[in-house]
Symmetry: C2
Subunit: 284 residues, 2 copies
């Protein structure tokens, strides 16, 4: 496994090592958990050559967010990726990715300003911009298949990356990985490490609350707004700060209507300063 | 020479015909003149395989601009490109490039809102977005060199495309072609076809006025704002509607200062409804 931090070196290495064979790429912010590793395993099943990037992208963090405290565990990450059989780990510095002020960015559809985008203005612009830059660094040569993998826990991100690829004619298949969960149901996330023991105990309730929403819809309720409000109030009473609980069309991410057959419920809520997100896709 | 209008077919053809050899791309809006052909000749000198696109891009036209009247001469264009030895001409329809509403676009630095961008809001966003889409359609395979060529007549466009490529890590060399001129100095442009005989006679004066600016600076004048104003007034008196006459640093396109050694004077002005642009790069 090669660990490469220079963009130029990455391209040089891939030009010889990955030319003409299928290539899969898993962009990450490091602090790898079983969710990331399952994306890597999926990547290995799909492609002959697997590249993982580890880059905590400042452009997707708001001014008051956790950029400085975001967990960085590079040595452990590299050990895990070596064990998983990754071919190249790309670990650029901030100045390698942003050598000049990034004034060329990606303008996204209105969906990027809803849900997490409403709480985190500019977040998805930062995500889309760095993902496009990383795509251009990794996928510049010939490969019979070019694949990039994203976890479903960040469902809105996945949706936006698919739009990015489609609308900019990016010749890369975007594949999704299932959300990995702790034994009590909590979606795996690097931010779980922030949770104090009591918060960690409570954290499982976000997923449970989303499960109750699914159940309510599947038993025939169509008063979606009421379900969302009630679920939010329930979590608020338990001490959560709720950003949103939202029923949406799984295909368009538009607010769900009674006609939608494939739905998704998404939730974002905070335990103290730790913001957790989760979602469940389901059919009626 | 292959003429291809489907994006899928373009990729399929290039995957077999252009794999592993140097590839040069000249994006155009058609109505080809000697300026375009000189870009094609430059492309042929630089690369083994040359692709030209002809696409009048609606996204870069404002609501009150000349999208519907823009000259379309596809048969003549194809004949010229065949003669010039082009390998592939890509002639997509509007729905091939924009099958869905284009809500993913490129946000550009402030320079895109100055000069022509101040007069044509959103113009460069439309240019950058379609250029990135075309790049992704043309340059998806392996080539030892990937080149795209743009004419210097549209200097601000060239500058912005260079920023786009640099800041998004697009692995394509951006090359510039010199402005081709009619015998009286008028920069070749598809829009020259709009000019009535008297306007065509007057049109040469834009270039002459820019030449006078160069001369004024080269003889030592540093009152750039005054030179700009005087030149604009001179043209206005002759019946032009002047959008701007502007002295800039050739490297940064920032307003020129007395310290700059490499300068450019850019001008945009209208004869009736026909908007002409031109520029001259020069050293002090």
């Amino acid at each position: 496994m090669q660990v490469i931090s220079s963009a130029k070196e990455l391209r040089q290495h891939l030009a010889s090592a990955a030319q003409g064979i299928s290539l899969a790429f898993v962009p990450t912010m490091g602090n790898l958990h079983a969710g990331h590793i399952s994306l890597v395993e999926q990547a290995k099943q799909q492609a002959q050559f697997v590249v993982v990037s580890i880059f905590v992208n400042p452009l997707q963090f708001g001014a008051n967010e956790d950029l400085s405290s975001y967990p960085r565990t590079l040595d452990e990450d590299i050990a895990k990726l070596r064990l998983a059989g990754v071919d190249v780990v790309f670990t650029p510095t901030e100045s390698e990715i942003y050598p000049v002020l990034q004034t060329v960015t990606i303008e996204l559809p209105e969906i990027a300003n809803t849900l997490c985008g409403a709480i985190r203005p500019g977040h998805f612009r930062g995500v889309a911009t760095v993902v496009l830059k990383l795509f251009n660094l990794v996928f510049f040569g010939h490969a019979p298949r070019k694949i990039a993998l994203f976890g479903k826990k960040d469902f809105q991100q996945l949706f936006i990356i698919r739009q990015l690829a489609q609308q900019l004619n990016i010749p890369i298949e975007i594949l999704a990985g299932e959300t990995m969960r702790e034994t009590d149901g909590l979606a795996m996330s690097s931010r779980n490490a922030y949770l104090k023991p009591a918060q960690r105990q409570e954290a499982q309730r976000l997923y449970r609350a989303l499960q109750q929403v699914v159940q309510a819809v599947q038993t025939g309720r169509t008063d979606f707004a009421t379900i969302e409000t009630q679920t939010g109030q329930y979590l608020t009473q338990l001490g959560w700060i709720v950003d949103y609980i939202s029923l949406r069309s799984a295909a368009s991410l538009a607010p769900a209507t009674a006609d939608d057959q494939q739905l998704i419920v998404l939730g974002a809520a905070r335990q103290g300063r730790t913001r957790l997100i989760d979602n469940i896709e389901f059919g009626k």
